[in-house]
Symmetry: C2
Subunit: 141 residues, 2 copies
Protein backbone atom coordinates (compact mmCIF):
# COMPACT_ATOMS: atom_id res chain seq x y z
CA UNK A 1 0.00 0.00 0.00
CA UNK A 2 1.37 3.41 -0.94
CA UNK A 3 1.17 6.34 1.44
CA UNK A 4 -1.99 7.77 -0.13
CA UNK A 5 -3.87 4.53 0.32
CA UNK A 6 -2.62 4.20 3.88
CA UNK A 7 -3.77 7.74 4.43
CA UNK A 8 -7.33 7.15 3.31
CA UNK A 9 -7.42 3.80 5.07
CA UNK A 10 -6.36 5.34 8.35
CA UNK A 11 -7.80 8.82 8.22
CA UNK A 12 -4.37 10.34 8.70
CA UNK A 13 -3.10 12.62 5.93
CA UNK A 14 -0.06 11.52 3.94
CA UNK A 15 1.62 14.67 5.10
CA UNK A 16 1.14 13.72 8.73
CA UNK A 17 2.19 10.11 8.17
CA UNK A 18 5.54 11.35 6.90
CA UNK A 19 5.68 13.77 9.80
CA UNK A 20 5.03 11.06 12.38
CA UNK A 21 7.81 9.04 10.84
CA UNK A 22 10.14 12.05 10.84
CA UNK A 23 9.60 12.77 14.53
CA UNK A 24 10.06 9.13 15.48
CA UNK A 25 6.48 8.35 16.43
CA UNK A 26 6.54 5.63 13.79
CA UNK A 27 9.47 3.50 12.60
CA UNK A 28 10.74 4.27 9.12
CA UNK A 29 8.43 2.66 6.58
CA UNK A 30 9.85 0.09 4.21
CA UNK A 31 10.46 1.32 0.70
CA UNK A 32 9.74 -0.07 -2.73
CA UNK A 33 12.43 -0.08 -5.39
CA UNK A 34 10.99 3.21 -6.58
CA UNK A 35 11.60 4.81 -3.22
CA UNK A 36 7.89 4.92 -2.42
CA UNK A 37 6.93 4.08 1.16
CA UNK A 38 5.12 0.79 1.50
CA UNK A 39 2.52 0.04 4.17
CA UNK A 40 0.68 -3.01 5.41
CA UNK A 41 -2.24 -3.58 7.72
CA UNK A 42 -0.11 -3.29 10.84
CA UNK A 43 1.00 0.19 9.92
CA UNK A 44 -2.52 1.27 9.09
CA UNK A 45 -3.60 -0.08 12.43
CA UNK A 46 -0.98 1.99 14.21
CA UNK A 47 -2.05 5.05 12.24
CA UNK A 48 -5.63 4.55 13.30
CA UNK A 49 -4.43 4.23 16.89
CA UNK A 50 -2.69 7.56 16.56
CA UNK A 51 -5.66 9.23 14.94
CA UNK A 52 -7.99 8.04 17.66
CA UNK A 53 -5.62 9.20 20.37
CA UNK A 54 -5.36 12.60 18.70
CA UNK A 55 -9.15 12.79 18.66
CA UNK A 56 -9.00 12.30 22.41
CA UNK A 57 -6.59 15.18 22.68
CA UNK A 58 -3.39 13.29 23.45
CA UNK A 59 -0.20 15.03 22.37
CA UNK A 60 2.19 13.22 20.08
CA UNK A 61 4.49 12.86 23.05
CA UNK A 62 1.80 11.13 25.07
CA UNK A 63 0.88 9.00 22.09
CA UNK A 64 4.44 7.78 21.84
CA UNK A 65 4.11 6.47 25.39
CA UNK A 66 0.75 4.87 24.60
CA UNK A 67 2.13 3.24 21.47
CA UNK A 68 4.99 1.78 23.48
CA UNK A 69 2.51 0.36 26.00
CA UNK A 70 0.30 -0.87 23.16
CA UNK A 71 3.18 -2.85 21.75
CA UNK A 72 4.29 -4.14 25.12
CA UNK A 73 2.52 -7.33 25.99
CA UNK A 74 3.85 -7.25 29.52
CA UNK A 75 2.51 -3.81 30.18
CA UNK A 76 0.50 -3.09 33.28
CA UNK A 77 -2.86 -1.51 32.57
CA UNK A 78 -2.23 0.62 35.64
CA UNK A 79 0.31 2.60 33.68
CA UNK A 80 -2.10 3.17 30.82
CA UNK A 81 -4.82 4.18 33.21
CA UNK A 82 -2.49 6.58 34.98
CA UNK A 83 -1.61 8.29 31.69
CA UNK A 84 -5.25 8.43 30.66
CA UNK A 85 -6.44 9.91 33.93
CA UNK A 86 -3.65 12.44 34.01
CA UNK A 87 -4.75 13.47 30.56
CA UNK A 88 -8.37 13.65 31.64
CA UNK A 89 -7.33 16.04 34.39
CA UNK A 90 -5.56 18.27 31.89
CA UNK A 91 -8.52 18.22 29.51
CA UNK A 92 -10.97 19.06 32.26
CA UNK A 93 -8.80 21.86 33.51
CA UNK A 94 -8.61 23.36 30.03
CA UNK A 95 -12.34 22.97 29.56
CA UNK A 96 -12.96 24.69 32.88
CA UNK A 97 -10.65 27.54 31.96
CA UNK A 98 -12.41 28.08 28.67
CA UNK A 99 -15.83 27.91 30.27
CA UNK A 100 -14.79 30.46 32.85
CA UNK A 101 -13.55 32.77 30.11
CA UNK A 102 -16.77 32.33 28.19
CA UNK A 103 -18.90 32.99 31.27
CA UNK A 104 -16.98 36.13 32.16
CA UNK A 105 -17.21 37.46 28.66
CA UNK A 106 -20.85 36.54 28.26
CA UNK A 107 -21.64 38.38 31.45
CA UNK A 108 -19.73 41.41 30.24
CA UNK A 109 -21.55 41.30 26.93
CA UNK A 110 -24.89 41.09 28.71
CA UNK A 111 -24.21 44.44 30.34
CA UNK A 112 -23.47 46.06 26.98
CA UNK A 113 -26.35 47.79 25.26
CA UNK A 114 -25.09 46.74 21.86
CA UNK A 115 -26.61 49.65 20.06
CA UNK A 116 -25.24 52.65 18.22
CA UNK A 117 -23.90 54.33 21.33
CA UNK A 118 -20.22 54.21 22.15
CA UNK A 119 -20.60 53.33 25.84
CA UNK A 120 -19.39 49.78 26.21
CA UNK A 121 -18.77 47.94 29.47
CA UNK A 122 -16.82 45.30 27.56
CA UNK A 123 -14.15 47.74 26.51
CA UNK A 124 -14.24 49.39 29.93
CA UNK A 125 -13.51 46.10 31.58
CA UNK A 126 -10.70 45.31 29.17
CA UNK A 127 -9.23 48.73 29.79
CA UNK A 128 -9.36 48.13 33.51
CA UNK A 129 -11.43 51.18 34.20
CA UNK A 130 -14.23 51.07 36.69
CA UNK A 131 -17.62 51.42 35.02
CA UNK A 132 -18.04 55.08 34.53
CA UNK A 133 -20.55 57.55 33.28
CA UNK A 134 -20.06 59.79 30.33
CA UNK A 135 -18.22 62.98 31.16
CA UNK A 136 -19.42 66.42 30.33
CA UNK A 137 -18.49 66.00 26.71
CA UNK A 138 -20.20 62.68 26.43
CA UNK A 139 -16.98 60.80 25.87
CA UNK A 140 -16.43 57.59 27.70
CA UNK A 141 -12.85 56.81 26.87
Amino acid sequence: MRIGEAASASGVSAKMIRHYEAVGLLPAASRRASGYRDYGEAEVHALRFIRRARELGFSLHEIAALLALWGDRARASAEVKRLALAHVEALERKARDLSAMAATLRHLASTCHGDGRPECPILEDLAGEPPKKPNALGNVI
Copy 2:
Protein backbone atom coordinates in the same frame (compact mmCIF):
# COMPACT_ATOMS: atom_id res chain seq x y z
CA MET B 1 9.59 54.22 31.46
CA ARG B 2 11.81 51.54 29.96
CA ILE B 3 10.41 48.31 28.64
CA GLY B 4 11.10 46.33 31.79
CA GLU B 5 9.17 48.78 33.92
CA ALA B 6 6.33 48.85 31.44
CA ALA B 7 6.38 45.07 31.56
CA SER B 8 6.01 44.83 35.32
CA ALA B 9 3.51 47.67 35.36
CA SER B 10 1.33 45.94 32.78
CA GLY B 11 1.91 42.28 33.43
CA VAL B 12 3.06 41.73 29.86
CA SER B 13 6.60 40.42 29.41
CA ALA B 14 9.15 42.65 27.70
CA LYS B 15 9.53 39.93 25.11
CA MET B 16 5.86 40.09 24.27
CA ILE B 17 5.76 43.88 24.25
CA ARG B 18 8.40 43.85 21.52
CA HIS B 19 6.49 41.11 19.77
CA TYR B 20 3.22 43.04 19.84
CA GLU B 21 5.03 46.00 18.33
CA ALA B 22 6.64 43.81 15.69
CA VAL B 23 3.34 42.34 14.54
CA GLY B 24 1.66 45.73 14.43
CA LEU B 25 -0.64 45.32 17.40
CA LEU B 26 1.03 48.35 18.95
CA PRO B 27 2.54 51.38 17.20
CA ALA B 28 6.31 51.61 17.34
CA ALA B 29 7.35 52.92 20.72
CA SER B 30 9.28 56.16 20.91
CA ARG B 31 12.98 55.76 21.56
CA ARG B 32 15.44 57.47 23.83
CA ALA B 33 18.76 58.68 22.50
CA SER B 34 20.21 55.36 23.65
CA GLY B 35 17.82 53.42 21.44
CA TYR B 36 15.83 52.17 24.41
CA ARG B 37 12.06 52.09 23.97
CA ASP B 38 10.23 54.62 26.11
CA TYR B 39 6.74 54.16 27.47
CA GLY B 40 4.19 56.32 29.20
CA GLU B 41 0.96 55.65 31.02
CA ALA B 42 -1.05 55.42 27.82
CA GLU B 43 1.12 52.59 26.51
CA VAL B 44 0.92 50.72 29.80
CA HIS B 45 -2.81 51.14 29.68
CA ALA B 46 -2.94 49.61 26.21
CA LEU B 47 -0.74 46.75 27.40
CA ARG B 48 -3.07 46.03 30.27
CA PHE B 49 -5.94 46.06 27.82
CA ILE B 50 -4.15 43.47 25.74
CA ARG B 51 -3.27 41.33 28.73
CA ARG B 52 -6.85 41.33 29.96
CA ALA B 53 -8.15 40.45 26.50
CA ARG B 54 -5.64 37.59 26.28
CA GLU B 55 -6.85 36.35 29.64
CA LEU B 56 -10.30 36.22 28.11
CA GLY B 57 -8.93 34.15 25.26
CA PHE B 58 -9.05 36.70 22.47
CA SER B 59 -6.48 36.15 19.71
CA LEU B 60 -4.08 38.93 18.85
CA HIS B 61 -6.05 39.40 15.65
CA GLU B 62 -9.26 39.92 17.58
CA ILE B 63 -7.48 42.20 20.03
CA ALA B 64 -6.33 44.39 17.16
CA ALA B 65 -9.99 44.92 16.27
CA LEU B 66 -10.89 45.61 19.90
CA LEU B 67 -8.05 48.09 20.25
CA ALA B 68 -9.24 49.93 17.17
CA LEU B 69 -12.73 50.11 18.64
CA TRP B 70 -11.32 51.14 21.99
CA GLY B 71 -9.61 54.09 20.38
CA ASP B 72 -12.59 55.05 18.27
CA ARG B 73 -14.82 57.52 20.04
CA ALA B 74 -17.46 57.14 17.39
CA ARG B 75 -17.65 53.37 17.71
CA ALA B 76 -20.95 51.61 18.14
CA SER B 77 -21.04 49.28 21.12
CA ALA B 78 -23.00 46.88 18.92
CA GLU B 79 -19.80 46.08 17.06
CA VAL B 80 -17.92 45.33 20.26
CA LYS B 81 -20.74 43.18 21.51
CA ARG B 82 -20.85 41.29 18.24
CA LEU B 83 -17.14 40.50 18.47
CA ALA B 84 -17.46 39.50 22.11
CA LEU B 85 -20.39 37.19 21.54
CA ALA B 86 -18.77 35.58 18.52
CA HIS B 87 -15.78 34.90 20.72
CA VAL B 88 -17.98 33.49 23.46
CA GLU B 89 -19.41 31.06 20.94
CA ALA B 90 -15.95 29.90 19.95
CA LEU B 91 -14.86 29.52 23.57
CA GLU B 92 -17.95 27.55 24.46
CA ARG B 93 -17.51 25.26 21.49
CA LYS B 94 -13.92 24.53 22.46
CA ALA B 95 -14.91 23.96 26.05
CA ARG B 96 -17.59 21.54 24.93
CA ASP B 97 -15.16 19.68 22.71
CA LEU B 98 -12.67 19.31 25.53
CA SER B 99 -15.34 18.20 27.96
CA ALA B 100 -16.53 15.59 25.50
CA MET B 101 -12.99 14.28 25.09
CA ALA B 102 -12.52 14.18 28.84
CA ALA B 103 -15.80 12.37 29.36
CA THR B 104 -15.02 9.79 26.71
CA LEU B 105 -11.60 9.17 28.13
CA ARG B 106 -12.79 9.10 31.71
CA HIS B 107 -15.39 6.53 30.77
CA LEU B 108 -12.76 4.45 29.03
CA ALA B 109 -10.50 4.68 32.05
CA SER B 110 -13.31 3.63 34.33
CA THR B 111 -13.57 0.35 32.45
CA CYS B 112 -9.86 -0.32 32.90
CA HIS B 113 -8.84 -2.38 35.89
CA GLY B 114 -5.69 -0.39 36.35
CA ASP B 115 -3.80 -3.19 37.95
CA GLY B 116 -0.85 -5.32 36.95
CA ARG B 117 -2.71 -7.16 34.24
CA PRO B 118 -2.15 -6.19 30.64
CA GLU B 119 -5.79 -6.17 29.57
CA CYS B 120 -6.67 -2.57 28.93
CA PRO B 121 -9.88 -1.29 27.35
CA ILE B 122 -8.25 2.08 26.84
CA LEU B 123 -5.67 0.68 24.45
CA GLU B 124 -8.26 -1.57 22.90
CA ASP B 125 -10.44 1.39 22.11
CA LEU B 126 -7.55 3.37 20.69
CA ALA B 127 -6.59 0.45 18.50
CA GLY B 128 -10.03 -0.61 17.47
CA GLU B 129 -11.93 2.34 16.10
CA PRO B 130 -13.17 2.07 12.55
CA PRO B 131 -11.59 4.53 10.14
CA LYS B 132 -13.24 7.89 10.21
CA LYS B 133 -12.67 10.90 8.05
CA PRO B 134 -12.93 14.48 9.17
CA ASN B 135 -16.58 15.30 9.45
CA ALA B 136 -18.36 18.34 8.16
CA LEU B 137 -18.39 20.03 11.53
CA GLY B 138 -14.75 20.06 12.07
CA ASN B 139 -11.54 18.43 12.41
CA VAL B 140 -10.17 15.33 13.68
CA ILE B 141 -8.35 17.40 16.27
